[in-house]
């Protein structure tokens, strides 16, 4: 009985080690997929905004502010989720790594997703050089 318990515990420890190895990259990959889906929705909404207003939003914004603007304009569904928290984007959270900026004439856009907690760009989708995520 003692032996069975010892071996079971050992086996569980080995499995836990496997989970510990896989856990962080798995979570990162899940978040990355959500970020990509969110970026595509925001990009499409920005295009709709541009068709209506003939310019892109005129100033730099963080993700929540941009989403709020696009939702209020009817270009984006308010149910859009924050990929870092899984909650509605507009619910507000410190976990917001989406950045928006435009040029002085608001003729171009640049959506950047930063690596959490850094200023390093992880994804970039814009109207000039990086026009797709593929």
């Amino acid at each position: 009985m003692m032996r069975f318990a010892l071996r079971s515990f050992g086996l569980l420890t080995v499995m836990a080690a496997g989970v510990a190895i896989l856990g962080p990259p798995l979570v990162e990959k899940r978040t990355e997929r959500r970020v990509r889906a969110m970026l595509l929705e925001v990009q499409e909404a920005l295009q709709r905004y541009h068709v209506k207003e003939e310019v892109y939003p005129k100033r730099m914004m963080e993700g929540r502010e941009l989403v709020d603007l696009l939702v209020r304009g009817g270009h984006l569904d308010e149910a859009l989720l924050n990929p870092w928290t899984g909650d509605p984007y507009l619910a507000g959270s410190d976990e917001d790594w989406l950045r928006y900026r435009t040029d002085s004439l608001a003729e171009t856009y640049e959506l950047t997703v930063l690596s959490p907690g850094t200023e390093e760009a992880k994804f970039r989708l814009d109207s000039t050089k990086n026009q797709s995520l593929e």
């Binding site: 032996r3 050992g10 086996l11 798995l26 990959k29 797709s132």
Partner: protein
Amino acid sequence: MVKALLQLYRLAVLVGIAWLVRGHHERLRVQGDWPVTVAEVRVFLKDAHRLRVDPGPRAGLEILDASGARIGYAVRTMPDSRRITGYSGPSDVLVVFDAEDKGVGVAIRHSYDTPSHVEDVRMDYLFMERWNGRSWDEIATITDLAAAGIYGVSGATRTSDAVAKSIGHRLAVAEGREGAPRRISVGWRDAWLVGFLGLGGLFAFWKAKRFQRWRWLYSVATIAGLGFWLGDLIAQSLLVGWAESRIPWEATPGLVLFVVAAFLVPWATGQPVYCQFVCPHGNLQRWTMKVLPARWKRPLPEDGKWIARWTPPMLLFVVLAVSFLGLDFDLAGIEPFDAYLVKSAGLATLVVALAGVGLSLYYPMVYCKFGCPTGWLLEFVRRRMGKDRFSERDWIGLALLAVAGGLYLVPAEVWLG
């Protein structure tokens, strides 16, 4: 008879796993982030029942009917045509051909372009049907859209032009993929690898004392030459890389022969040539276990051995998950072999290497016995001497194959959300 069947089973498990990894990555290469579905194709070929990835130069999808007969072919323009942009971005276009390679329809699957322009193009049936009836070759050679009778959609000229150009570009790129014929190139590294392999084989099979007394020299040579100089150790990162893409038999024939022999020699003869004679890390541990006197050695208790033996299979499950799910994880870090490339070695591989060597001072060959996933695979296929039966190892092999099958068949969304 049973022994032969067991050996075939073990080889089949390895080949099966490699085949699933390969199939999965071919599917990813062709399908990318937005896999084409049967429903999309059925709009143009109503008998479409299944899509089969074509790993050839066209890198598209063969369309099969319910009986398995090929009734057409489909390609998507992304990511090859991602640089061809319309008003504000590129579009991913599906192009479907019939069995005679004649176009039967195109559809815009997804677009980064202005939605209203994309919609205008989608709704212009005259434009969208311009490719119908044209052959693959004909479309691939179109350089002047107007001369080919393909005119832009009014109000969405740039978007429609981009759609047209991306179709031509995608097909032309596929034509160019035929590439130059592959030629075998044998270099000095190949010669050294075959030399190490040949000598290892001799030490394994030729037991003459006058020859065996030089084994220590060969052992040192593998550590210095094969390890620190060439850095060509068999590792999961190498095996998975080959399974995911292809075996570079023409570029590094020596290494391919080396790896194939490492698996097939023990499979056919029962002699673990690579693990016992050639592997630099194994040989390094053989030397370190001689450093301390025998009385300092600490034998592992039976339960400890039983538990530790699960480490390599656990690491192999990790390897499968990393490969199938495309996780950002460097497989070189779970083994010590990259540590021999001192300048480029990562921290994880250095830690695994040093820990393995350090522990082997007290527990002889501890990494080989309880830590090495590559060694586990080589031992898995090795022919057993005497009686052989379906053992714990074979069940684990079956479990690995089942996991690979599950990861292959179940869509990534299930695992990754």
